[in-house]
Each structure stands twice: as structure tokens, then as C-alpha cells.
């Protein structure tokens, strides 16, 4: 389309047509509005859920976990309970430090333990950590409900998940006793309580200083696990590399542990796009229909416009701009309506399931979602308006005018 046809006259003719059939124009706008609104609301909600799970599960858990092979475990279990030290730790740490895809790693000693409070006694486990390393793995400060995080974790403190704290009926500054399988025990002060929003963490996880645990175990150097965060989660090269170099280790990655979540995210994405696409397709067909019938009804107008000096390009513009105006108005309104609906969903209380702990539905108000929805809506209308417009431009004035 040349610049000549983008002028006021053509625009005013187009607007005149839109105003002349208000009902149809409004219906077409509503069609676009519904399509784009649905898209915005759905993608806000679905990606809100995705982000929430991502945040809770992947930010709270390492991408890969390195631990001794289970063969060694079973071999030693015949002697009674004994934690297995991770062999080749220095080599593992060196490889992780040098690997470009590793953003952080942390050594841990994990031991089963019985947690005893004044009123309750629960079997569980304790994670012995090095606060300086662990800080890079888990952003605990954001998830603290009470007390303080890794920075203030001394050898006399314990951090725990909110659900576990409830079960033990303890709060910050209360003390609990931990009893290890070897019979040793110690009393620790609760210095912080955190919540990740998922029960698999909040119900069981505790952090204590690794030194405390090693001391109790009587093995000052023991490390049982190395947790690793990756830059690109899908690239598991480092796992392959380590398994090749060291025979005594076993590596779990996030895919094995969180397959359902990954699949769930994909399903939600597909659902969002297919439903929105279907709705916009319907809206597009609506516009196509309206424009098509207008072109048929207005053949005489088109013919006469052509005889008095309007080129085929002008005619395309006159009809295409109608569709674009419908698309712009519909998509623009959808931004507001989509925001409002998303907002109301985001303040709607949600009954927590066994797996997720949240107060309201998670919504991701990303500007991109609104931008994509807007663009998507306008593109649909341009596409659906184009073919009737081209049809209009091909009207032969002689045939029409002679035909009466």
C-alpha cells in the first residue's frame, strides 16, 4: 500500500462506514475484546501458576544433587547405620567451580534425626550446611516468615519450614532437641522459620550448621551431598562429565524429581495458546464475515469510488482500515478488561491443597502478556480484514454500474 492511500479522505470514508453500521461494528469489537481478554487472563493466570511452581520448587531445590552411589550405602548398611562420605569431593568441587553452566554449588551433610520439642517428637532429617555456600543456592531471606536467615545461623541454631514448626509447636527462639541415629543429641534454638509454599519443603526441611552435625557424628570432614544450581537447567552436560570422571557417585537431576511439574507447565502453556487462538480465530471470522457482507452490499459504492478517481489501493485501505480500527478498539479495551479480571482473580482466596500453600490465585501481570495479546488481536483483524478488502478492490465498476 502506497503512502498516497493513507490519507484523511480514505480514513473518513472508512469511519463513515463503521458508524453507518454501528451494531455490526460493536459486535466485531466485542469479538476481538473477548478473544484478547481471554488470552490475557489465561496467560496471566497460567504463567502465574507456572512461575509460582517454578519459584517454589526450582528455587527451593537444587537442579542437580550429587551423592554417593546407593551400592555403597547398602554395603555399609549391613554394619548398622552409617552415613556414607562422598568420595572425590575435592575433584567434584573443582569441576563445578570450573564449569561455565554452574552458577552455584553447596556441600551438605544430611542425616536422619528425631526432632524433639517440648510437646512433640517427630522423625525427620537435618541438613548440615555451610551458610556462605548455601546462601548462593537458596534465597532464604525472601521466604522467611519469622526470625533470621543463613547469615545468623550459628552452631547453636536451627532453621525450619513453617509446617514443620507448626507440627512441633515451636516458634522463633524456642529450643528443640535433635537426636541422631548414633544416639548423640544436642539442643538448638530456632532462629528462623521459612515457607516455600509447597509442602514437600515446608513440612520437612531443616537447616543446621554442618559443623554441628559433623561434630555430633564424630566425623569432622563428612560431606554426604553436593547441591548444584545451573545457569541453563536443560543443559545437563556437567552431570555427564562428573559421572564419567567419578565412579563412586550418583547424580539426581531436577527432571527426575519434578517431572510432573515440568509436564504441568507445558500442558498449561499449550492450553493457554490453543484456547486463545481458537477464540481469536472466531473473532477473526466474525470480522471477515462482516467485512465480506459489507463489500457485497457496498459494491455500488466501491464501483462509483473507482470511477471518480479512487484506486484499488485506496479501496483496500478504506476497507482494511475498518478492520484495523475494530481490532485496535477491541484490543485496547481488552487490555483494561483483561487487567481487571486478572486483578480480581489475583485477590480471590484459594483453598490450599496438600501440595501448594498460597492464599490467593497466583497471577503474573507481565507487560509482555498485554503486549502480545494486543498485537495478536490487531494482527488477527488485519488478516481477516485483508481478504474482503482485496475482494473490494477487485470490483469491476463497469460490470456493477451496467448491471442495474
Amino acid at each position: 500500500m502506497s503512502k498516497q492511500s493513507l490519507n484523511k479522505t480514505n480514513l473518513s470514508i472508512a469511519i463513515q462506514y463503521l458508524v453507518a453500521r454501528k451494531k455490526q461494528s460493536v459486535l466485531a469489537i466485542i469479538g476481538v475484546l473477548l478473544g484478547v481478554t481471554t488470552f490475557i487472563v489465561m496467560i496471566n493466570f497460567m504463567s502465574g501458576v507456572n512461575d509460582f511452581l517454578d519459584n517454589a520448587v526450582f528455587k527451593g531445590n537444587p537442579d542437580i544433587v550429587i551423592k554417593p552411589t546407593s551400592k555403597q550405602n547398602t554395603a555399609q548398611q549391613s554394619y548398622g547405620f552409617q552415613l556414607t562420605n562422598l568420595e572425590g569431593l575435592e575433584e567434584i568441587n573443582r569441576q563445578l567451580r570450573e564449569h561455565t553452566n554452574v552458577t552455584a554449588y553447596a556441600n551438605q551433610t544430611i542425616s536422619p534425626a528425631i526432632l524433639v520439642s517440648n510437646s512433640q517428637q517427630l522423625p525427620g532429617s537435618v541438613n548440615g550446611i555451610f551458610p556462605i555456600e548455601e546462601k548462593n543456592m537458596v534465597d532464604l531471606d525472601k521466604r522467611l516468615i519469622a526470625g533470621k536467615g543463613f547469615d545468623n545461623l550459628t552452631e547453636k541454631n536451627i532453621l525450619m519450614g513453617v509446617s514443620l514448626a507448626k507440627k512441633l509447636q515451636v516458634s522463633v527462639n524456642d529450643t528443640i532437641k535433635i537426636i541422631l541415629p548414633n544416639g548423640k543429641n544436642t539442643t538448638l534454638t530456632v532462629s528462623g522459620i521459612f515457607s516455600f509454599g509447597i509442602t514437600t519443603i515446608d513440612n520437612v526441611r531443616t537447616y543446621i550448621s554442618a559443623k554441628t552435625l559433623q561434630h555430633l557424628l564424630g566425623r569432622s570432614e563428612i560431606i554426604t551431598h553436593v547441591n548444584v544450581k545451573l545457569k541453563d537447567r536443560d543443559n545437563l552436560d556437567v552431570k555427564t562429565l562428573l559421572l564419567k570422571k567419578l565412579k563412586s557417585i550418583e547424580i539426581e537431576d531436577w527432571k527426575q524429581n519434578n517431572k510432573t511439574i515440568v509436564v504441568g507447565n507445558k500442558v498449561r502453556d499449550i492450553l493457554t495458546w490453543s484456547v486463545s487462538f481458537a477464540l481469536l480465530l472466531v473473532a477473526g471470522f466474525g470480522i471477515y464475515n462482516i467485512q465480506n457482507s459489507t463489500v457485497i452490499h457496498k459494491r455500488k459504492d466501491i464501483a462509483v469510488l473507482k470511477t471518480i478517481g479512487y484506486t484499488s489501493e485506496d479501496i483496500i485501505f478504506i476497507f482494511l482500515i475498518q478492520a484495523i480500527i475494530i481490532g485496535l478498539i477491541g484490543a485496547f479495551l481488552a487490555l483494561g478488561v483483561g487487567y481487571l479480571i486478572s486483578f480480581f482473580i489475583s485477590i480471590t482466596p484459594l483453598d490450599t491443597s496438600d501440595f501448594i500453600i498460597v492464599d490467593t490465585y497466583p497471577i503474573n501481570f507481565s507487560k509482555n502478556h498485554f503486549a502480545i495479546g494486543f498485537l495478536f488481536g490487531v494482527l488477527t483483524t488485519i488478516l481477516s480484514g485483508y481478504f474482503p478488502s482485496r475482494k473490494a478492490s477487485k470490483v469491476d465498476p463497469v460490470t456493477i454500474i451496467r448491471g442495474v
Binding site: 479522505t9 470514508i13 469510488l305 470511477t307 471518480i308 478517481g309 479512487y310 484499488s312 489501493e313
Partner: protein, 222 residues
């Protein structure tokens, strides 16, 4: 010479093969009012659509204002019509949603030579000449048939084209309105010194034209 047609030949293939124009040649001078008459189906309209550059599927040569029309693209032809040729049809073909004024200035807006205020003044002047100035802001569909046809003439004249082509412009009108239209067209030729080429069935009109040409079976009887 304002218009010169040489050996215009045209066949219709649909609905059945028909030799509608047979080697028609015609010359028209400036300021002439020329009428074409003849039986329905004799080829009057076909000739007019070719002479007005709307129909380009013919053999032969057509020169308007010294310009060989075969050398122009469709787009150039559209611009050429916009500037030099005005149309009046049997039916008025006004855009019903548009006001009388908006209808009249459509060709001028496309031409873009004058400012809006000047166009409005031109349009009102034309409507005054045609005796319907009071309807300038009416929606065009509210006017009577005769009034609408006069609005169509105003639209044809707004760019002051050298040639006006009218295809049975009074075909749908009563006697009184027909007379007004004919008088107007004649004045266009005589006062404005523009050329008018008109197809008509009305003997009063073709007998009062500067030149009347009968068309029989696709040929001109000069």
C-alpha cells in the same frame, strides 16, 4: 480536438459471443454537447464506458486531451479520470451514508488540489446553480430522485473536468426533472465550454443537442 476514437472494436464473450462495437470512429470538439441515441442493445453504453476509460478491453485507439489511453496503467487511468472526466449515470450512485456535501467533494478530496474550505464553497456554488443549495448538509438518501441526480451532476463537476460523460442521466426521472437535468448539461457545454457526451432515448434531448449520433447494431450513423 478533445476526444478522438479510431476503429473501436469490441466483442462480448459472455453470456454469448456478441460483436457489440464494430470499427467505431468518433471525434468530439471542446464545448460540444453530443447525444448518442438508438435502440437498447445497440452499443451506446458500451461505447460510453470505453470512451470514459473505464472499460479497457477493446481494440482500436482512443486519444483524450491528446493522451493515448492505451499507454496508461490502470492506476494512471484512475487518476486521469479523476482529473479530466466527470460521470453521470442513469442511477445517481451517491454514497447513502454520506451527506450531500461529502458526496460532492469525494472526487476533489482524492485530487487534493484545493483546501477543504474552498471545496465547500465550490460545492455550495454548484448546488446553487443546480437549485438545491438548501440540501447541502442532508444525508443523500433523504433527497428525491431528481435532487439526487442533480447532486450526482455536482459531484461530476466538482473537479471541473473537460469531459462529462452521461449514460441516460434522465432514464429514471419524470419529465420535469429530466428537463432540469438536460438544461444543466447543456449549460455545462455552453457556459463552461466543457464537452458533454450523453446517451439518451429522449428525442427532445438529442434533437436539441449540438450533435446527435444514432447508433445501430454497434455502428455509428453519422
Amino acid at each position: 480536438m478533445i476526444l478522438e476514437a479510431n476503429n473501436i472494436d469490441k466483442h462480448f464473450l459472455q453470456p454469448q459471443s456478441h460483436h457489440v462495437l464494430k470499427n467505431v470512429s468518433l471525434k468530439i470538439n471542446q464545448g460540444e454537447l453530443v447525444s448518442l441515441y438508438g435502440e437498447s442493445g445497440s452499443g451506446k453504453s458500451s461505447l460510453l464506458y470505453i470512451l470514459s476509460t473505464l472499460d479497457t478491453s477493446f481494440s482500436g485507439n482512443l486519444k483524450i486531451l491528446g493522451q493515448e489511453t492505451k499507454n496508461l496503467s490502470q492506476k494512471e487511468l484512475t487518476q486521469f479520470r479523476n482529473k479530466h472526466i466527470g460521470f453521470v449515470y442513469q442511477f445517481h450512485y451517491l454514497l447513502p451514508e454520506f451527506s450531500v456535501l461529502q458526496n460532492i467533494i469525494l472526487p476533489a478530496q482524492k485530487l487534493g488540489a484545493k483546501k477543504m474550505n474552498d471545496l465547500k464553497k465550490d460545492a455550495v456554488d454548484l448546488l446553487e446553480e443546480l437549485g438545491i443549495a438548501e440540501f447541502v448538509n442532508y444525508p443523500s438518501h433523504k433527497l428525491s430522485g431528481g435532487q439526487q441526480q442533480r447532486v450526482a451532476i455536482a459531484r461530476a463537476l466538482i473537479n471541473d473536468p473537460q469531459i462529462i460523460i452521461a449514460d441516460e442521466p434522465t432514464g429514471n426521472l419524470d419529465e420535469k426533472n429530466s428537463a432540469i437535468i438536460f438544461k444543466t448539461l447543456k449549460e455545462i457545454a455552453e457556459k463552461r465550454n466543457n464537452t458533454v457526451l450523453m446517451a439518451t432515448h429522449n428525442p427532445n434531448f438529442y434533437n436539441n443537442s449540438h450533435r446527435a449520433i444514432e447508433m445501430i447494431n454497434g455502428t455509428l450513423r453519422l
